[in-house]
Point group: C2
Chain length 407, copies 2
């Protein structure tokens, strides 16, 4: 992948840059996600290889960091790849959603992955109870959780298979751990290639190669201007990245929306995931003529490898649109991206950059994911927040527990 920054960067202070780089190198010693591209995946590959061929559906019971990553990658690849099994998600307590998802499933051909880092996620455990009570065969379930969590102990007690995510890998940074790799491997996703895409970006950054300058400059600009450019939009010109947007929103919002260390100030940057050309007919007007409080990152696919041409027919009264004739759609969509980028550039007020991924494959999405994780860590350092916790969500959980106790 390539990243080109189109706004003026003035992060020329090499000492500051080196200090930031050193902090990330140091973080790498105790924050686990950095090293996931190098993990040993033999156990996962073996688990997937030996898996029961009669199972057609892999069903994830998980929410937030336990589902968004695998969903992003699965939905990205689905239009181009004949996958081995279908992947389903239960990620809501909405009874209509639970009922309609269940209706689609043949339970006897399904295997359930219960994914919860803490092991006590209310949504996940309530749905698990609902499914498990009438289907108590321990072999139908695999548990992915922190070692020694109560969920781990429960799984052990019934004799189900258990897999762990490293304890120093947070939920929203866990897509390249067993949390994402297990469901994806079971569906036939090439997880080796996924990790190798991530490793490309990791190597490039830590060896100060191609990605180093643009990502450092971008992080610095975003943090420095976090009080005026408070919204960071991604504008991906492919429907395949729709769920990647949701993953990005969690990663960015939950990591950076924090009280600052040693200060009473709340800070944060608001993520918005747009999809082109659809959102040209929706959010674009607000970017063009709304407040100039947004940055925009265009994401393009270099090679769609799918040759669909607009047929050279003339429609009476619509002759002016003959300019579309013989244009391949993959070229049209990238021209649309370029046109909007140029139009926004002309405003001179909106910080823009462009990411180009090679193709719709495992390697590319692995790179894109690692790039955004790294960018989040960099901006978190510069904003002076703890990128890896989420204390703000506890209050609601405590109130809910109280309400449930009183039922």
């Amino acid at each position: 992948m390539k990243n080109e920054i189109l706004f003026k960067c003035n992060y020329s202070n090499n000492d500051a840059k080196n200090e930031l780089y050193s902090k990330i190198v140091e973080e790498r010693n105790y924050i686990g996600y950095y090293n996931l591209p190098e993990q040993n995946i033999d156990e996962i590959l073996e688990f997937a290889d030996d898996f029961d061929d009669s199972i057609e559906n892999i069903v994830v019971l998980g929410i937030g960091g336990s589902s968004l990553g695998a969903k992003a990658i699965y939905e990205f690849l689905r239009p181009v790849k004949s996958l081995k099994r279908k992947l389903y998600f239960f990620e809501s307590t909405d009874p209509l959603n639970i009922a309609s998802t269940l209706k689609e499933l043949d339970i006897n051909k399904s295997h359930f992955l219960i994914i919860s880092k803490s092991g006590s996620t209310v949504e996940t455990i309530s749905i698990f109870k609902y499914i498990y009570a009438p289907n108590p065969d321990a072999n139908s379930y695999t548990f992915i959780t922190d070692r020694d969590s109560n969920l781990d102990k429960f799984a052990k007690s019934i004799g189900s298979k258990r897999l762990y995510l490293p304890s120093n890998v947070g939920g929203r940074f866990s897509v390249l751990s067993p949390v994402g790799l297990i469901p994806l491997a079971l569906c036939g996703v090439d997880i080796k290639s996924l990790l190798s895409g991530a490793k490309d970006v990791s190597d490039s950054f830590f060896k100060k190669q191609d990605i180093y300058e643009p990502i450092m400059n971008k992080a610095h600009y975003y943090a420095k201007h976090s009080r005026c450019y408070i919204i960071n939009c991604t504008f991906a010109y492919t429907e395949t990245l729709k769920y990647f947007s949701e993953w990005y929103v969690q990663l960015w919002g939950e990591s950076l929306g924090k009280k600052q260390k040693n200060a009473v100030c709340n800070t944060g940057l608001t993520p918005i995931g747009l999809i082109g050309p659809k959102d040209q007919h929706s959010f674009l007007q607000l970017i063009m003529e709304g407040k100039t409080d947004k940055t925009v990152t265009f994401i393009k696919v270099a090679n769609f490898e799918h040759e669909l041409y607009i047929p050279p027919i003339t429609l009476k009264h619509l002759e002016s649109l003959d300019i579309l004739n013989n244009v391949p759609f993959h070229k049209l969509i990238n021209m649309q991206s370029d046109s909007v980028l140029e139009a926004l550039k002309d405003t001179e007020d909106i910080p823009l950059d462009e990411i180009i991924i090679d193709r719709v494959d495992e390697n590319s999405i692995g790179s894109l994911i690692y790039y955004y994780e790294l960018l989040t860590s960099l901006v978190g350092q510069l904003l002076g927040v703890n990128t890896y916790d989420q204390p703000g969500v506890e209050a609601g959980k405590i109130i809910l527990k109280d309400k449930l106790t009183k039922v």
Copy 2:
């Protein structure tokens, strides 16, 4: 539906209120969407009644305002209603998306609705050419556009059925016009009930009944504080409103993100559509501890009418979660909404309100849609923008046309 405002409103100036109300009453004379609940739908009902029973799929070729509304309503109702036909959308030039949507369709059992107000939308016409070239049977297509647009003339020339949206109804306000009603009626949605839900809110507002005070106060607060509370989140506790969120984002962003009349200032409010409880595990942290620049509207369903209970089983080591036992999911999800609302209330910094819709049915979604259209018009008036145009999206279109001409 009910709307309760939980922040302190000080819109006590009755003259100002009456002036705003008068402006809306005046707008109603020339802005068409206000009166859609009272339109005559005989032609649409007849069209749907007489429709070929062998057609199983209704396929919308449209983007932005031509697709988001019908999609929002269709996806809202789908989990509760056995619909007569399936609804598909082509709303991207992504070749992978076009190919994979086509793969799902039996063309011989499909009818295509080509929806474009202007009649020259690049995305819609290019996909139409792609489908029409090998399938040139005029009976397979119905066109919904402005009367006398070039698309209307083309449709006439090939002898296809045409339907019109009133010329004074803008794309993003067109869901209750034939743009939304035709695809929905063909799928068996009760469009009478949909309009009657909208009419409830319209009557309530224009007769200064229940909805009048909360919606006026909310609009006033949002506009007055548009420089500090720049982001307006909806937080809907049901998966069924997922695509309603996308409709809301277009409506709000494209209507309000504007240069102000008689001023050089850009203004606007940024919409974000959240879904609970999922986004408790994503965006919530940013609301709780990020910058206090967001308002939040909780949307709850009063009656899910779907009795799913969490079974009363005890999981070893997870006994603390026995508090979930026997709780119905519809109660749990609303308790989750209440808990997060209370937690946010405790911060005292975040303007909150709550909308409760009765149930997942046509009447409720009709009300919710009209409420948001009305709120948009009110805020637009108070921000001093033209709520109904979208001049900012033209620049990119011109650049694209130029690029296409040079291909």
